[in-house]
């Protein structure tokens, strides 16, 4: 049924896109025809579908980011103009329509989408249409390796996975179980977990997966419950999926700790999964967002208040940073998209944004690493039942810093 909805939406968007569609060169020239004309910047976000909380948050952050850049003079005096398109959630059809529509509208670049599956769909279009794409959440290096027009400003899967195994070693979690979805992100996490398990001498008791969005995780939880695992490593970006996993575990009386990046502390998850998290013997989130950085925490509080959705994880800040990075690169390309913007991005190097740290990590070639948000490579948060929130665990974060991935 969701597919039918997606098809209808795709047809409507494709129709809209066709009216404005031109050749790759003509679409990029739209943003550069006049020195005073606004520079069009696109955002592809899941405003509908299975996770509209994410889209609502992204819309608010993007509007704030563009307003902030414009308030500071824009790009050489030219203002940015934001164009938002709905990807419809985990739906390559919807994502393709959204990216094509943005490309057809003549944007200099597109920012999004938060799921690796949709980012992948967008990257294909970016490469074909020569429109720069910056993914603000995709931790899978394979998505951007060798793709001239596709960029990420997220950490690498190997970095979070390495930090998780350091933590497992310190907490004597052996064996562990893996629960991952079948998106590119989930598969990358799963692959990385298996690769690192033997390196760390940690056994994998069981490995379960699901197709996102999940409808029932009863069978998966039964396998996890009787696996003898001391902790469950989660590879899932979808907040609703992780919430369902936690609730199913709580209902079945399974108390094994959950640990992972992405969905565990995605926007809206603490409110939705809080009671289930309380019943587990621990829930740990690993993220490049460090609440010890005052500006970053203030930003998160502001967006939480603005949207009414409790923000968590690194995605909100990475999205904000993506706009700052885009503005800086556009300044170098004189507002032009296409290859000049690619060159502008590659010339940026270290970049100071909200993170307040040594610079945001912008992955151009999968070999650059210039630090993340705070003093740690990855910050580990622990669910606190008393405050119903994730609190940073500095001792675990320090342990995680000894991961080989910390060196990039």
């Amino acid at each position: 049924m969701k597919n039918i909805a997606a098809l209808i939406a795709a047809a409507a968007l494709a129709g809209a896109g066709l009216t404005a569609c031109g050749s790759p060169s003509s679409s990029n020239s739209a943003s550069t025809t006049s020195s005073s004309a606004p520079i069009l910047v696109g955002l592809a976000a899941p405003l509908t579908g299975s996770n509209p909380s994410e889209g609502k948050s992204e819309e608010a952050i993007a509007k704030d980011a563009v307003a902030s850049i414009n308030a500071h003079g824009g790009v050489h005096g030219r203002h940015l103009k934001l164009i938002i398109r709905d990807t419809g959630g985990v739906s390559p059809t919807g994502a393709v329509s959204a990216f094509e529509s943005l490309s057809g509208a003549g944007v200099a670049l597109v920012i999004g989408e938060y799921t690796s599956t949709n980012f992948q769909a967008g990257c294909t279009i970016a490469m074909a249409q020569h429109v720069v794409l910056i993914g603000h959440a995709s931790a899978t290096t394979g998505l951007t390796d060798g793709k001239t027009y596709c960029f990420r400003d997220a950490y690498q899967v190997s970095q979070s996975a390495g930090a998780m195994f350091e933590t497992a070693k310190a907490l004597h979690w052996n064996p562990i179980a893996i629960a991952a979805d079948t998106t590119s992100f989930g598969v990358s996490e799963d692959t990385e977990f298996h690769a690192l398990a033997s390196h760390y001498g940690v056994k994998i008791a069981t490995d379960v997966s699901w197709t996102s969005p999940a409808s029932s995780l009863t069978a998966q939880v039964l396998r996890l419950a009787h696996s003898g695992a001391k902790a469950i490593f989660v590879g899932a970006a979808s907040g609703p999926d992780v919430t369902l996993l936690a609730k199913t575990m709580a209902q079945a009386g399974v108390k094994i700790p959950l640990f992972g990046p992405g969905g565990i502390n995605a926007p809206g998850v603490p409110a939705a999964a809080g009671s289930a998290y309380d019943s587990l013997s621990g829930v740990y989130d690993i993220t490049s967002f460090d609440s010890a950085v005052p500006a970053a925490q203030a930003f998160m509080n502001k967006i939480s208040k603005q949207t009414g959705i409790i923000q968590g994880g690194e995605n909100p800040i990475q999205l904000w940073d993506a706009f700052q990075i885009a503005a800086a690169a556009l300044a170098k390309s004189d507002g032009k998209g296409g290859l000049p913007l690619v060159n502008g991005l590659q010339a940026l190097g270290k970049f100071h944004t909200l993170s307040g740290g040594p610079g945001t990590y912008v992955d151009f070639t999968a070999s650059q690493h210039s630090g993340l948000f705070g003093p740690h490579l990855m910050t580990i948060y622990r669910w606190d039942a008393a405050t119903k929130a994730f609190v940073p665990d500095n001792s675990l974060s320090k342990i995680a810093d000894s991961s080989p991935g910390a060196n990039g």
């Binding site: 049924m1 969701k2 039918i4 909805a5 509908t48 579908g49 299975s50 996770n51 509209p52 909380s53 079948t182 379960v208 997966s209 699901w210 197709t211 969005p213 999940a214 409808s215 029932s216 995780l217 009863t218 069978a219 998966q220 039964l222 396998r223 419950a225 009787h226 907040g239 609703p240 919430t243 369902l244 609730k247 199913t248 209902q251 079945a252 009386g253 809206g268 998850v269 409110a271 939705a272 999964a273 009671s275 289930a276």
Partner: protein, 293 residues
């Protein structure tokens, strides 16, 4: 043994819920030969209304109110969306597509109203006991007990009451039934309402065991359709058996083979029955493939 016991327990509960949904499916089909593909949405809507609207402090009363509301919505669906096309020569396929549309509308409105994150519905019975290390919630036993009463009651009502017989007569040949004075508007509206009530009952009693999210609608809807086909359309007891078969096959294969195959297995089962035994275990082939009167 622990894992097997867990799989059996969860299969019984899921199978009972799917059985109730299949029963709702079959009530509408018996009267009007229309496949209602919005069953998943109605089932979850019942639980959402009970949970998110929070009418009273009592989960049982909330469930009851939700059942009444969804029953009213079921009747309204027929009167508003289906009655006119049905009486103006629309083909059954058109009516089925309309039910798809109704489902999409319910899903999107529910997402706008309550989001897509699974909510926790408070159970009527909060207790539990352990069986081979597996938690068996009292709410699940309540679900099974209520389902048994509903299925038995509707089975008897279908054969022994005037309305039940009128339902069957209407389904067999609507033109003849109307000729003999049956009020098809009232009867079909009643059937849609009854179907909605059964769906809401399934949702409010089962979803406290799993979490309530409207985005799981399609999966439950397909499971219910498979259960109805396997059990045999038109047979309340068959619907329950069909639900249990779907749940046991998908859960056991999910636990022991690959948990990511559950939807595939549901479709596979449906495919096998549609090809080799379209009348299901207890139904008549004509129920599924015969011409519409």
């Amino acid at each position: 043994m622990n894992e097997l016991a867990g799989a059996i327990v969860s299969s019984v509960f899921l199978g009972t819920a799917l059985g109730l949904m299949a029963l709702a499916f079959t009530i509408v089909y018996t009267v009007s030969q229309v496949f209602n593909f919005a069953v998943g949405q109605y089932m979850i809507l019942g639980a959402l209304l009970s949970t998110a609207v929070h009418f009273t402090a009592s989960p049982g009363v909330n469930d009851l109110i939700a059942v009444v509301l969804v029953a009213a919505m079921g009747s309204a669906t027929y009167l508003v969306a289906l009655r006119w096309p049905e009486t103006h020569g629309a083909k059954p396929l058109t009516l089925v597509i309309i039910t798809f549309g109704v489902g999409i509308i319910i899903e999107q409105v529910a997402i706008m109203a309550w989001g897509s994150y699974p909510l926790s519905e408070p159970p009527i019975l909060a207790g539990h006991f352990l069986l081979y290390g597996n938690l068996v919630p009292d709410q699940g036993l309540l679900l099974v007990a209520v389902a048994a009463v509903v299925v038995a009651g509707l089975g008897v009502a279908q054969r022994r009451t005037i309305v039940g017989k009128q339902f069957l007569a209407l389904g067999a040949n609507r033109a003849t039934a109307r000729y003999f004075g049956l009020n098809d508007l009232v009867l079909v509206t009643l059937a849609w309402g009854l179907s909605g009530a059964v769906l809401a009952l399934a949702g409010t009693l089962y979803l406290p065991l799993t979490g309530v999210s409207i985005t799981t609608d399609l999966s439950y809807g397909v499971g219910a359709f498979a259960a109805a086909v396997i059990g045999g359309l038109g047979n309340p007891g068959g619907a329950l058996v069909g639900g249990l078969i779907v749940a046991f096959v998908t859960n056991l294969m999910g636990v022991y083979v690959n948990p990511n195959l559950t939807d595939l297995l549901t479709f596979g089962l449906l495919f096998v029955f549609l090809v080799f035994r379209p009348g299901g275990l207890t139904g008549n082939v004509a129920d599924l493939v015969g011409p519409r009167a």
